[in-house]
């Protein structure tokens, strides 16, 4: 299974972290520090796998972002590369040619998308269309709720004046 997903920028800034195995906050910080040191140091045209404490970290760079996933020693590295690519394609489709800033300002949406693709460290939805549809449906739900809420809060705000 996938133990965690980390997105790191080329400057070493964290853009997204998702943990499927229990790590304390301290461990999380340490893991990210170690991994970013290891992965950012690797040059281009090298293989996409790093061994790390008995696990394997599969990473792939898209533009300025490194997508890293940590897996068990007997998991299939190429499969994970495909999952990463899958994730990137869905992000791209959702944001319309995604860039780092999209992920920075919509970090929770990136999480929702990731949650539709992976659950508990397993791939759950191999169809890009389905993910897009599910996310869109959720967004629509949230939007209507937001409209209602904003109208109510407007009313309250007016009432308190």
């Amino acid at each position: 299974m996938i133990h965690f997903v980390v997105l790191i920028s080329r400057q070493g800034k964290v853009r997204l972290t998702k943990w499927y195995s229990p790590y304390s906050q301290k461990e999380r910080t340490k893991v990210i520090r170690e991994l970013s040191g290891m992965i950012l140091a690797r040059g281009p045209k090298l293989c996409n796998f790093v061994e790390w404490k008995g696990y394997k970290v599969v990473y792939r760079r898209y533009a300025s972002l490194y997508f890293c996933m940590c897996i068990d020693a007997d998991d299939n590295e190429l499969e994970i590369l495909e999952i990463i690519h899958h994730f990137v394609e869905i992000l791209d489709r959702y944001f319309g040619s995604v860039c780092e800033l999209d992920l920075i300002f919509n970090f929770h949406k990136a999480y929702y998308i990731l949650d539709e693709i992976l659950i508990a460290g397993e791939l759950q939805e191999p169809s890009k269309k389905t993910v897009a549809r599910l996310i869109a449906a959720q967004d629509a739900l949230v939007e209507t709720a937001k409209e209602q809420a904003s109208s109510i809060s407007n009313m309250i705000a007016q009432a308190t004046k």
């Binding site: 229990p22 304390s24 090298l46 796998f49 061994e51 499969e79 999480y111 659950i119 508990a120 191999p126």
Partner: protein, 978 residues
């Protein structure tokens, strides 16, 4: 709202206020301010934002709370701030009817909740149950399932398992599809429920009876996503625990393997089969063809890779399939464009292992080229693969190749290679090494590597070989000499440890040296001032030993010449060389006699010394001794004032000896007088000195401490007798003291029945058998088992006989050839006992009790519980029998019982093997018919899928139940697989 404003007026600094709500910064504001901040101001900004959030999050207004929570989630996941304090606030927001808030709350919860440290987690139970219920919107259930699969504690999983159940079953999914109006046939929740089930199962095995059957049903769902999720769940279960309980599902997996076109699913299935195939040989036979088909026709590299791995790990006997897989790996290895494939190819070959080393031999060129790959990870894998293929027949070639290559490689990898060679060759007291002369000179060569940073290990091995291998000593001394006389090496701090070993070796085994003057000069050369004090002290001590040796052998020489002068009545004026030769001749008979009789064990120092005199003609003259003395005096003299005590002390020792010698008047006179004096002057001193060093230093066993007999007054069993009292009183759960008494109990055994309290040990063993769960796992036994002699042959690795020939070919063709063929036998390597080397690796570790419970429970569900011990029984019986192994000597009464236990555990294995033999005797006819059966069944199954949902479900239920009935004699797997 009035209350809100009053609270803000009363405590404006801490309490949330309306102002906070109205002028709250949104997440975007926060992110923008963080991005626009100057470098270095981040911590201050973060702490300010955190203070703000702490205030806002306590607001009664859900919007404010939600935004605060969102900001905190951002800070915790991106900036690594601790968010565990806000767990309760996330919980507060969970019941919100607004999907926006709910989603945020679940996100915050899933990112910050930790199953073991979040203490408010039980408070979420009710809300989760509510959201999981079929009446709530599927979005909410999905969020709840996510949280459940990420941060559930065992308790939470146990309480909510019944609530997952309806989501997992197809019936509930049909109702939710009605509400959701999805055109898909099944609910989107079912796959999520399957994964959440996996999590619940692995957390608490109690829920197995409830959840496993529905999960099995998921395998036959028409919805590919449900199947995919269920297969994924089973793949995790199979790889995490004992795979044997899942064997009855093999037909189902096999059907999916042949039907499915989804690569993700196929990869998971292959993972499952990789674990199941070793348990059931017939399974392997059935799987070979589909796997080969997949390798041939699939375009997805990930799937091909998985096939290759499965074949390598689970099908070591199917040559045809292995050949196909090896060919595929060769393609991977020669793929210049894709480093990933090269890396994975090497890793796959590592799996193939020594048993099928031909696969490695065939791709030897690519493997060796990979040592020069630009990617350090690939180089590392290649090295690991090569080191896994080392046997005593090719160790020379491979080591020479690596050490030579290390000269050209970059420093990091060079040391990696040196380390690999050192560890492999030193493994298990040098079990691979036959020719120690070669190995010692290889160690010397390693020291010449400019990048060498392995000084410590080389030092250890040089000294260790000196202690253990008598035959290697002459070569060792020669290598040490070469290292010592090179002034260039003294400047490299990494080599100091090696030089220290070289100095020690040439001092301790000085009799094998050929040129003592040269040795003393090397040990005292001016550049030794570069050495650290401790190494210098070793140098001076070595000088001391050389000095003592030179003098005593000079005296022996004189003595011998006297003897010979008596025997042959030669004149004193005759040349010393003749005297030497003569004396050697007359003594040689004795020496060869003793050596041939008892080997090296009896050949003590004077004897070997004289044999050397015979061979090498050391030719000590008074002048040479004088020169040595002078040299030592001038070089060591200044060191008597050295700052370091070690150096100073040893320098003074040496100087003291020299002064003592020079005070003896005989020294001043001619050789003649010296000879006469030898009985009462120099000779006495030198004999004393020589005696001081003549005691041979040997290796010390790691178990030496255990052999020391326990002194009379020492009571080691006190706790144990206490325990006996407790145990006779009644059935009290063992407390902390047990683990302590356990140790003394083991200790007692190591002393070979010296312990009197057999009674209490027996009671303890009995108790352990009954309450195995409460005892520490038996893994610690590994160390104790050292005391039993193992069936162990130091020369032959288990399966190298077939592999060696191939690898010799490998190394002869592609590696540097050996110059000399060594035909002499391996010298004796002194070993203290079997436990001296590495721990035996054959011992399998005992599984964790939880895993045992899980697999046991699943076994019950899938196979029924007749004929098998229940999970806990099985676990404890295995454990107790494992522990009994060492208790056997103490309590013979319990032995039969333990055997019974073992038998119980083995029963299944044996029955399966007997079944196998039966099958073989039936021959081909039955095989064909059963195959027909299987085809028929598959056909009928396809019909049923076509004929509709309801019918199909019925069929599957039937299928699910068949294993239950057919368990004890032959599990259902037989019908489908024969």
């Amino acid at each position: 709202m009035a209350g809100g404003s009053s609270s803000s007026s009363s405590s404006s600094s801490t309490g949330p206020s309306l102002v906070d709500s109205l002028f709250q910064r949104s997440l975007d504001d926060l992110i923008k301010s963080l991005r626009s901040q100057p470098v270095g101001a981040e911590p201050a900004l973060l702490s300010r934002a955190l203070a703000e959030i702490r205030r806002e999050i306590r607001s009664p207004d859900p919007d404010t709370k939600a935004v605060a929570l969102q900001k905190l989630t951002y800070l915790s996941s991106i900036h690594g701030l601790d968010a565990s304090w806000a767990a309760f606030h996330a919980l507060e927001l969970l019941p919100s009817p607004s999907p926006l808030h709910k989603r945020l709350a679940y996100l915050a919860a899933s990112l910050s909740f930790h199953p073991s440290t979040t203490d408010v987690l039980p408070l979420a139970t009710h809300q989760l149950r509510k959201d999981l219920s079929p009446s709530s919107p599927p979005n909410f259930s999905s969020l709840a399932l996510h949280l459940l699969s990420l941060s559930a504690s065992p308790d939470l999983a146990r309480h909510l398992a019944p609530d997952i159940l309806p989501l997992l079953s197809p019936r509930a999914s049909s109702t939710t599809t009605n509400t959701k109006n999805n055109n898909n046939n099944s609910s989107p929740l079912r796959p999520k429920a399957a994964v959440a089930t996996l999590h619940a199962l692995s957390l608490c095995p109690d829920v197995v009876p409830l959840l496993v059957k529905p999960l099995v049903d998921c395998l036959s769902s028409p919805d590919p996503r449900v199947v995919s999720a269920a297969v994924g769940a089973f793949a995790e279960l199979v790889s995490a625990t004992d795979p044997s309980p899942y064997l009855p599902l093999a037909p189902e997996f096999y059907r999916l393997l042949t039907d499915s076109r989804n690569n993700w699913v196929l990869i998971k299935l292959l993972k499952i089969f990789a674990r199941l195939a070793p348990l059931e040989p017939r399974l392997a036979a059935r799987l070979v063809d589909p796997l080969c088909d997949l390798i041939r026709r699939s375009s997805a590299q990930s799937l091909v890779l998985e096939c290759v791995r499965t074949l390598f790990s689970g099908f070591p006997d199917h040559d045809r399939a292995l050949r196909l897989a090896v060919d595929k790996v060769k393609e991977f290895l020669t793929n210049d464009d894709d480093p990933n494939l090269r890396y994975l190819g090497l890793r796959a070959l590592t799996i193939l292992g020594p048993r099928n080393s031909w696969g490695v031999v065939e791709s030897r060129d690519s493997v060796i080229q990979s040592l020069a790959d630009p990617d350090p990870n690939i180089r590392h894998e290649a090295l690991r693969l090569i080191m896994g293929m080392v046997f005593d027949t090719n160790v020379v070639e491979i080591s020479v190749m690596l050490v030579n290559y290390a000269m050209k490689s970059d420093p990091v990898f060079a040391n990696e290679m040196l380390d690999a060679v050192l560890t492999t060759c030193g493994r298990n007291v040098y079990e691979l090494i036959v020719d120690f002369d070669w190995y010692v000179s290889l160690l010397g060569e390693m020291a010449r590597n400019p990048h060498c940073a392995k000084g410590e290990e080389i030092e250890r091995q040089l000294v260790d070989i000196g202690l253990r291998v008598r035959d290697a000593r002459p070569e060792l001394v020669r290598v040490a000499r070469d290292l010592l006389i090179d002034p260039a090496l003294l400047g490299n701090p990494f080599l100091w440890r090696i030089l220290s070993a070289a100095a020690w070796v040439s001092g301790e085994y000085v009799e094998f040296s050929t040129n003592w003057l040269e040795l003393v000069e090397a040990l005292l050369q001016p550049r030794t001032s570069l050495l650290p004090p401790l190494v210098r002290a070793v140098y001076i001590q070595a000088v001391f030993k050389v000095l003592a040796f030179c003098f005593s052998s000079y005296i022996d020489q004189l003595e011998a010449s006297q003897v010979s002068s008596l025997g042959h009545s030669t004149t004193v004026g005759g040349s010393t060389i003749e005297c030497n030769a003569a004396s050697a001749n007359c003594l040689s008979d004795d020496i060869t006699g003793t050596e041939s009789a008892d080997g090296f064990a009896t050949a003590d120092k004077p004897a070997s010394l004289l044999s050397l005199l015979e061979k090498k003609d050391p030719f000590f003259t008074r002048e040479s001794l004088k020169r040595i003395l002078y040299l030592i005096e001038t070089a060591v003299g200044p060191l008597s004032e050295n700052d370091d005590v070690e150096v100073q002390e040893r320098a003074r020792n040496v100087l003291g000896l020299i002064h003592m010698l020079q005070e003896i008047p005989a020294w001043k006179t001619e050789e003649e007088g010296f000879k006469k004096d030898k009985d009462n002057g120099v000779g006495k001193i030198m004999n004393l000195m020589q005696a001081m060093f003549s005691e041979e230093i040997g290796p010390v066993s790691v178990n030496a401490q255990k052999r020391v007999p326990v002194p009379e007054g020492l009571v080691l069993e006190e706790n144990l007798s206490d325990l006996a009292m407790i145990l006779t009183e009644g059935d009290i759960a063992p407390s902390m003291s047990i683990s302590f008494t356990l140790r003394s109990h083991q200790h007692m055994e190591t002393k070979d029945e010296a312990a009197p309290s057999v009674q209490s040990t027996y009671l303890l063993a009995e108790h352990r058998k009954r309450h195995g769960l409460y005892y520490l796992p038996a893994e610690k036994d590994e160390t104790e088992l050292n005391d039993f002699p193992r069936a162990y042959d130091p020369l032959l690795p288990v399966s190298h006989s077939d592999a060696t020939e191939d690898l010799v070919k490998l190394t002869e063709q592609s590696l540097i050839p050996r110059k000399v063929k060594h035909t002499k036998p391996r010298p004796i390597v002194l070993k203290m006992d079997e436990g001296d080397g590495v721990l035996p690796s054959a011992l399998t570790t005992v599984k964790e009790s939880k895993d045992d419970m899980l697999s046991g429970a699943i076994h019950e569900v899938l196979l029924g519980n007749e004929g098998k011990p229940s999970s806990s029984q099985k676990g404890s019986s295995n454990k107790s029998s494992g522990r009994r192994m060492k208790g056997v000597s103490d309590n013979s009464e319990s032995v039969p019982q333990s055997k019974e236990n073992l038998d119980l555990g083995d029963r299944e294995n044996r029955s399966s093997s007997s079944r196998r033999s039966q099958h073989r005797s039936h021959g081909k006819g039955r095989h064909r018919s059963s195959q027909n059966n299987e085809e028929k069944e598959e056909k009928s199954h396809r019909n049923s899928t076509r004929s509709g949902h309801h019918h199909e479900r019925h069929e599957h239920r039937q299928r699910g139940e068949t294993p239950l009935n057919a368990v004890p004699q032959a599990p259902a797997i037989q019908d489908l697989l024969l």
